[in-house]
Symmetry: C2
Subunit: 292 residues, 2 copies
């Protein structure tokens, strides 16, 4: 299946970057060349051995300089530096995208550092697992998942990029950067922050209790430890770079949690029951939306 671009470069060989390489390889398009680079030489060696890229480059400029599409799958805190690093090597007309979880910060960090004759279209695949690193990737990661393109208008170039992501299995939609950041703050960033917090709280318990918390970890806590085992650098960067939206959602969350805390203290059974009944319907909507 023809994949629109002739030379695709992936910078950053973690879960997302290697999943993109796997997904491209699975399409068996003989006309596409994939170029891969990671700052970590160990990751480059692993990906070389995996044989999922046409070429793993030891220097970033060799991966970049003839590419039609460059995908930056790196922590959002590294976007500014990498944009500066690659800017003088980019081919005229190249498309640059990224896969970061914060979009206003990425636009601010990348756009001013690029030459005028290339096109930056930020994007974000809503897909992932708690695993990280080059061995974590797999070719079906994006299937039936949304891949959001950030643009105020639809153009020929956004359509092309969208088609490329669609061929990797994703459902593509175009949304605005600020709106993206608020949605992700409540659907992904705040849940991860809370999961990290509660697992941290548990790890501070007296040691007998802590050991049995691990031993008898019931559902609930087990799910939270899964989220709280995600890549610490990636998440550090997300909270630093989407702090406004995260702090807004956190404030709303804290108000609601205080209400429930008071209801428990006052033994207000009716209030608890009505709150817990209301949240059930949201789950049903997610199942109906096919995203469960």
């Amino acid at each position: 299946m023809a994949l629109i671009y002739k030379k695709v470069c992936v910078i950053g060989l973690g879960l997302i970057g290697t999943s993109i390489l796997h997904a491209i390889k699975a399409k068996e398009d003989k006309n596409i060349i994939t170029l891969a680079y990671d700052i970590n030489s160990n990751h480059r060696d692993i990906v070389s051995k995996m044989n999922i890229a046409s070429l793993v480059c030891d220097k970033i400029e060799n991966a970049i300089n003839d590419a039609d599409l460059i995908i930056l799958s790196i922590p959002v805190g590294s976007m500014s530096n990498v944009a500066k690093l690659i800017s003088s090597y980019l081919k005229e007309g190249a498309i640059i995208t990224d896969t970061g979880s914060t979009k206003q910060s990425v636009i601010k960090d990348i756009q001013p550092n690029l030459p005028k004759n290339v096109h930056f279209i930020p994007s974000h695949p809503l897909a992932g697992t708690e695993y990280s690193g080059p061995q974590a990737g797999f070719g079906t990661l994006f299937e039936n998942r949304y891949w959001l393109l950030i643009s105020d208008i639809e153009t020929k170039k956004t359509k092309q990029l969208g088609s490329f992501f669609t061929k990797l299995g994703a459902m593509v939609e175009i949304i605005n950067a600020n709106y993206h950041d608020r949605i992700l703050a409540i659907t992904s960033h705040l849940p991860h922050l809370i999961a990290y917090t509660i697992v941290g709280t548990a790890s501070d318990l007296e040691s007998d209790l802590k050991n049995d918390v691990i031993r008898y970890s019931a559902s609930g806590f087990r799910d939270f430890t899964r989220l709280a085992s995600s890549d610490p650098i990636m998440w550090r960067d997300i909270f630093i770079h989407n702090s406004d939206a995260v702090l807004e959602m956190l404030q709303r969350f804290n108000e609601d949690l205080s209400d429930l805390q008071k209801a428990i203290r006052k033994q207000d059974a009716d209030k608890l029951h009505s709150f817990f009944s209301r949240t059930r319907s949201i789950r049903k909507k997610i199942i109906d939306a096919g995203q469960s």
Copy 2:
């Protein structure tokens, strides 16, 4: 496989009660008789048609009066009333257990209402799903899950009951009621409270944003909606009946969350990174403990 007791009565035909009936039936022990009752006649009809109990009784006393083992799989808020209701029908020497998620409250609500010639041994299977009702049960629910017996000492009767749960697939351990309630507060009750809260927070967002939160629900939030779709009556009762331990854990959680909130506000990348790195190791321990 012989299942120790001749007549086993299950009161409450939700996820846990019907899973027990499924698990007993799967053992194909021709000498065991199972008696079932639920206050909801609709649930009784469903279980009759499912053919997983020897007899579904329309009156609780008929289910109780000849049983060797009575299992109360009902919300913890109903324990006191049901204990009063059944106490005069219990056979001498009968064993009564329950499957509730709070143990100090259940002991306080049941023990004083029982006659002296029966034996109450509280228990709690650490197993469940987000589904509820008689159709939610399945026979392998307890396999490789802990089933905690609450007792200060091991006796012939706790050993027998433990063997029975082991035959249903569970791993049995004896622990103290207060300790149980604190462990469950952090591993199960607090995570559910937080999941209910965040899903409630999302459902209060302005309506465009809320719809797209559902549409684009990323991992994190999706997991929380699963927890927040659990049975509202069961959870109302748990928070009312384990309020001391839940409020203690909630206070610890709030302190930790405030710390992280401050770190985000101050853009303290090092603090976030070190916190997120620490929680990773807890996940690894849970995986090593075979409970992931």
